[in-house]
Subunit: 428 residues, 2 copies
């Protein structure tokens, strides 16, 4: 447990650097780093980390290695080619426990700009809220990792154990960025990812599959349309069939230890649809992008098989689809969920750090969303701590993060680092 | 009635020029003249008509004049700016009856190229079939108008009355091209439009409305999705409400003289859909392009009001839509249907020409599709003869037209011109 005087010094140091931390977070938000467009921000992060004195590595996705791994998301044309960036802190003496501090720079699309109060990549601050696509999810956390280490440095300290500061991509679509750091060989005794978890620790999360279903048929002039020959209608019938699979999976929640109390743990999202060419032509094609979640412990491949089976079974009995079997493509996440085993030393120490920053115990919860933490939990088999600030409307319009919350979370992270890794005087 | 010897000479002359007519039709098909992209083909048509010696006019849409006309389609950003082209034949002596020969050059989108056996704008001939987007609808008819006049010229004859050879755009989206020729002041005693009507004459057709419905809402991360907050789902519920309006209009067919024997005269087409940005974001927007037909005699404005009322009434009782009223935009056809009055001299003469070409009587039928003939029937109040060759899959893939049918239809058109306009020796 940290010395109380040191703890106060660390908290004060975070506060002293917080104006700079906000400005840096705003710089990150200004990069429109949607999928595939993270090259510039990763170069900026690389230069920033290098200027701090970290040993640097920068590497590409190894497609072949990923393709051999059961937890890799499927490649598509949209897959990012931006590099992964890792800053390495090596202490003079390895006294404490090693740590991975991870964050992703990719953000989901902003959607139509006119639905935003401020332009999506303009990091406007109103009261306690920092607005902008990706500010909450998770550039505030990305900056918090760096500024927690800065806070130690400001008072002449550094971790007395190896720390890997990882900046990844593809968190919003495949999870291949995090998985690539694993395949590259980085290992530590715990990992912390400051995703916007409303100041709580994630106990368990779901896995996620992405897939696209394409329906094609024989189009005609609208004057010759017959019932059932419309690909948009057929796609909607298929959505119904998949909602029945979703309902069936939700019924299984009683058997799932972490999710039995959740109202609706399994969500099927019809995220994107596009079909047809012309108001007066019967649409002959329709593509729908789906995202469905799976319980931790469920194998992604067997869940994918269930999805394919449900689509095939429905199509066999549908007049239009029987003759035009839909094409199913898994084109993103192919990821299992994870649970954070209770009682780990890492969780205990983070709980203590949180109490020192917030003055109250750390709560845990389960979340029906994908998290990169699954890589560290499932494949490194280490405590993977997903814990971060309060925010609203991530993936929505007017996404925003609470600056007060970011400050306290940064304090908690700095306190956790100092406790978990131990500290030594600055220098190399 | 035409002299039998002259009739045989005209038929033989069409046949003599038919290889050239096919080649010219293929040239027309090579232009990818989708909406807005008809500039090049209209210039080609202008040069072709001018080379034949027609007096030429070429003019733009008069947006203000169109906006004042109740039958004009609504302008949108997609509206064509290509010119209208008219070739004018003036006889030495106005002995016969004047005639408008009209055809459109715009074609509907080809859709995904890989669904075509041959590239959509490659006019491949296999057996009796000429393939290609727009070959059937209606570049074959466009060429037939010109080559029917050429057939007379080949035997030293020309119409003994004014003939307007009109080449228009926007037939597939607003009907504003045909309406613009009316607003420009062209008038004749009959109009013939060789749309692909399977060698029959159109007795009546429907009017058509185009509209787009946009649903918008408040998006969230998929982990926070609640039932009903998905704009794609909401759009599908709205489609259901509009299908109930379609069913109600179909029930009224008993009161509609020309359509009471049609199984399904009123078709609502869900032609195009697009919504959402990302598989893992709950979609906050969805746009759907609709086309619905109305009975001849039904006012377009009152039908549009019924559409708006149906959407508003449904939305008031829908949890999501009540707070996010859909936006309805009429963005194309705003056209009434027409009926060709039985017993006209023009119909009788076309029937006779058809019998001479095909050896059998001309049949009539009603069609649930928009036709430019409505402009001449409703606003010029003249017999508007919509009659043309056999084809398949217009608006679909592998659109094709029967060359044998085109040849006979061209004979019928040439015979009709010679009879309706009378003929005089070539010259001016």
């Amino acid at each position: 447990m940290l010395d109380a005087v040191l703890a106060e010094k660390i908290k004060a140091s975070v506060t002293a650097g917080f104006a700079e931390q906000i400005a840096y977070t705003q710089e990150l938000v200004r990069f429109p780093s949607t999928r595939g467009n993270e090259h510039a921000i990763q170069d900026f992060v690389f230069q920033t980390f290098r200027a701090r004195g970290f040993a640097m590595e920068r590497f590409d996705m190894d497609r072949e290695a990923l393709a051999r791994h059961p937890g890799a998301g499927r490649f598509s044309d949209a897959h990012s080619t931006a590099p992964l960036v890792v800053g390495i802190h090596r202490p003079r003496a390895e006294v404490g426990r090693s740590l991975i501090l991870q964050a992703h720079v990719d953000v989901v699309p902003p959607g139509p700009s006119d639905m935003w109060t401020h332009p999506p990549f303009d990091p406007v601050i109103v009261g306690d809220w920092l607005y902008g696509r990706g500010g909450c999810d998770m550039k505030a956390g990305h900056a918090a990792n760096l500024y927690a280490l800065d806070a130690l440095r400001r008072i002449g300290l550094q971790p007395a154990a190896t720390v890997y500061l990882q900046s990844v991509v593809e968190e919003e679509s495949t999870g291949n960025g995090a998985l690539m750091t694993h395949l590259r060989g980085y290992r530590a005794e715990a990992a912390l990812i400051p995703e916007p978890e409303n100041e709580k620790l994630v106990r368990a999360n779901v896995g996620v599959l992405w897939f696209q279903v394409e329906v094609r048929g024989h189009p005609t002039h609208v004057s010759a349309m017959g019932a059932g020959a419309n690909a948009i209608d057929a796609a909607y019938r298929l959505i119904g069939a998949l909602r029945r699979l979703e309902a069936q999976w939700n019924e299984e929640k009683a058997e799932r230890p972490h999710f039995r109390d959740e109202a609706h743990p399994i969500n099927l999202n019809v995220g994107r649809i596009e079909g047809g060419d012309w108001a007066s032509s019967v649409p002959a094609w329709c593509r729908v992008d789906f995202r469905i979640s799976i319980y931790p412990g469920v194998d992604a491949a067997s869940a994918a098989q269930q999805v394919e089976n449900a689509i095939a079974a429905f199509s066999r009995n549908d007049g239009f689809l029987a003759n035009n079997p839909p094409r199913v493509t898994f084109n993103g996440f192919f990821a299992e969920g994870y649970a954070l085993t209770e009682g780990s030393e890492a969780e205990r120490r983070l709980g203590e750090a949180h109490r020192l920053a917030f003055g109250k115990p750390l709560e845990t919860f389960v979340t029906p969303a994908y998290l990169d933490a699954r890589v560290y939990a499932l494949y490194d088999k280490i405590p993977a701590l997903c814990y971060g600030p309060l925010g609203h409307d991530l993936h929505g319009y007017d996404e925003r993060v609470s600056l007060k919350s970011v400050e306290k979370v940064t304090q908690a992270i700095a306190l956790f680092i100092a406790d978990w890794c131990a500290v030594e005087p600055l220098g190399s």
